[in-house]
Symmetry: C2
Subunit: 431 residues, 2 copies
């Protein structure tokens, strides 16, 4: 299964700067010559306190610093290089940190992932204590309408196929891999992820599969080629659909996969399996019941479904910076929220698996590959984009390592279906 | 693993009639000599309509009948033998059906399980249509206080150890078995269930295990003997605790299992694993957060937990007759409701498995064994009890077969724990 083409992408993508719009470049960074004032030093200490006093040193532009903990080895130092950056951090900690780091006005000495993991681990204890505040002030999210979804998805996934090809695996899987064996490479683990899903869905030759969100078409391709099924795969990212179709034509499986450039909500017909990998995060909870209705409308009486999604241990806001700069409209749901897909639509949960640590490792591979290609990325975009993407990947590793984010695979079927598998032995073949 | 003692129970139990209190015996059945009236015939047709017109014939005492469907093979006939039974059915369909069947004033021609499964399958479609009514009129349940729980559990589990020994397996497992292989006997499947749980929990020799709800002590015994762990097992049923302790003393593992006659909420100490099988149904949703707090208080940083419970695909009332006659205070929760245990208490879901069909088969074994010992049961109790228990077991089979009830095994751990298993391979050994 490792006879794959050269990963070089033939589609010409626009080198889009969308995600860095409004962010200034490092050239604007001027060291503030004023020393920090007494009240600023006091406020810094309060901020470190608010962060739960992680084992990190925080320094202002004049070298004044506060250690989150004393008498322990510090994980690293966060240096706030200008008064302006400090003020932005104070007005919105998440967006301020992200934007000022991207702009180069906040820098981190030490391993970025370690510093972020330490921060997240302490922050989350806070959200436990102040959970009720979060509940009251939960941001009102905008409904992901069909038009709005298209705009949100365009923002991220149409960025540039060449860029993603630099650091994703050959199958361009931009979702959590499955490290079935500890020694697996990223390539192995992405193939194992697809097989894991196909086994859970018990695909049989000739099955009709509906996919919501195809990415660059890798799972549909894998299902068609190795499980002899027919896949109808929905995606609203034009660049990804073009990419997927060209590859299918070139490799000769266009008759077995329809890559449809449309919203999954327009899905019609009847399918033996429904699959969605890494799409639910972009639906938003207010769309869950409708997603369940679409599935209920299209699944055969004995059909199986699988949703693979980033999730949470409890409802919480998306990190504001990630939502603003990386994934507009995204929301990783708690399992209790995810149940809105199934409970009102006569669907029954068969199996839930949490692959949190697999996503941390997947992201570690991505970050490593990204850093190896960092000069190419900088020539495609600019240094601000490089730092922004580095923070996004590192922060995501930290979120999965600290248990802030989860990865759930949820397998389901119709509640009347007594043809369901009795055990999960078929997922774990003996040979 | 099949070297087990004679299952005969030495403990002398009271032959309690608690569950049939207030039910009259069949001797009270008098055929109503009046013919059915026009409005009664009309109402019967409305009732059959309300039931979703299952493929069942419903007959009044004078032989007047309504077929739920025409032109299909009917599954059976429900005969309402007196006007009084009909009136009780109308005033409360669930309690009326259960009580009048137990009293022998409603009888079923045909296979009872088939008739009930057909009824449940149609009823549930109704609850879909009228779900909003259920929401509005959801019965206000009483909180299961420690005193209240004791009374509720006494009602059912202290019935009579000898009685349960007649139709349960040798290990007296009164919970869903695991038919890992299609040819498993009930004995095999109950042992496989215990091993399945122990594997999921990754028990290591020397682990300290806390169990909430020990039943007749079988799982604690199995864990202690075959996994070399120490189990502290809570149970508020005095008869079950006496039984468990005597067996442990007789078989020489008292040093490895503490059977504690107390409420699980009094649990203290620190444990490597928490397990609860068939107890959550008796907790009630209002007690879920507290259960999670107890677990959070007692689990080591790398501890694993498993809750095995009857559940639902969506929130719904317990069948009123079952709650009145069989399990006072019981409530099988939807997964979304079950999350109240984990979400507020820093616990993370690792794995959920739905074993619905396994419970249907377990109950089929129980019903078969019960019927084989029916004369003994009747001599222990009376004919009303026999019919009541037959209806309870048959109705439970129907509920699991129709997808009305589910059986969830939920595995969880602390959300900061990165020592969790990466895959589920250990549950499915290769040899």
């Amino acid at each position: 299964m490792s006879q794959y083409d050269n990963p070089n992408v033939e589609v010409q993508g626009r080198a889009s700067y969308l995600v860095t719009e409004g962010l200034e470049n490092q050239s604007d960074v001027r060291q503030n010559t004023d020393g920090s004032r007494r009240y600023e030093r006091y406020i810094l200490d309060r901020v470190v306190d608010f962060l739960g006093r992680p084992a990190i040193r925080f320094e202002l532009w004049d070298g004044f610093g506060v250690n989150g903990q004393e008498g322990v080895t510090l994980v690293g130092t966060v240096r706030i290089k200008t008064r302006d950056a400090f003020n932005k951090l104070l007005s919105d900690v998440h967006v301020g940190l992200g934007d000022e780091y991207s702009a180069g006005r906040i820098v981190v000495d030490g391993d970025l992932v370690d510093v972020l993991t330490e921060t997240f681990a302490h922050l989350d204890q806070q959200s436990g204590r102040f959970g009720w505040i979060q509940k009251v002030f939960r941001r009102k999210r905008k409904m992901n309408t069909i038009a709005g979804s298209k705009q949100n998805i365009f923002h991220h996934y149409d960025l540039n196929n060449d860029f993603y090809a630099l650091w994703l695996d050959r199958e361009m899987q931009y979702t959590c891999a499955y490290f079935a064996d500890d020694h697996f490479s990223l390539e192995d683990a992405q193939l194992a992820k697809m097989d894991h899903i196909c086994r859970k869905l018990q695909l049989k030759p000739g099955d009709r599969v509906a996919e919501a969100g195809s990415g660059w078409g890798g799972l549909a391709r894998h299902m068609a080629l190795y499980y002899s099924v027919h896949v109808t795969s929905f995606n609203i990212s034009q660049e990804q659909v073009s990419f997927s179709r060209e590859r299918a034509a070139r490799e000769g499986y266009s008759d077995r996969v329809d890559y449809v450039e449309d919203d999954y909500r327009t899905l019609t017909g009847e399918y033996d399996a429904f699959v969605s990998v890494g799409m639910l995060e972009h639906v938003g909870q207010e769309g869950f019941n409708e997603l369940g209705r679409v599935i209920n409308r299209c699944l055969t009486p004995n059909g199986r479904g699988l949703i693979h999604s980033i999730g949470r241990n409890r409802p919480a806001n998306m990190n504001a910076w990630i939502e603003k700069r990386i994934f507009p409209g995204a929301y990783p749901p708690a399992l209790s929220e995810m149940m809105d897909i199934f409970q009102p639509n006569s669907l029954s949960i068969a199996d839930v698996e949490n692959l949190r640590l697999h996503y941390a490792r997947t992201l570690e591979h991505w970050l490593h590959r990204f850093e190896k290609s960092v000069d190419t990325v900088e020539s495609m975009f600019d240094p601000v984009f490089v730092r922004l993407w580095r923070l996004y990947l590192s922060g995501s590793i930290a979120a999965f390592l600290s248990g802030n984010l989860q990865l759930f695979q949820v397998l389901f079927n119709r509640e009347r279906d007594n043809s369901v598998a009795w055990t999960r032995d078929h997922i774990y073949p003996k040979n």
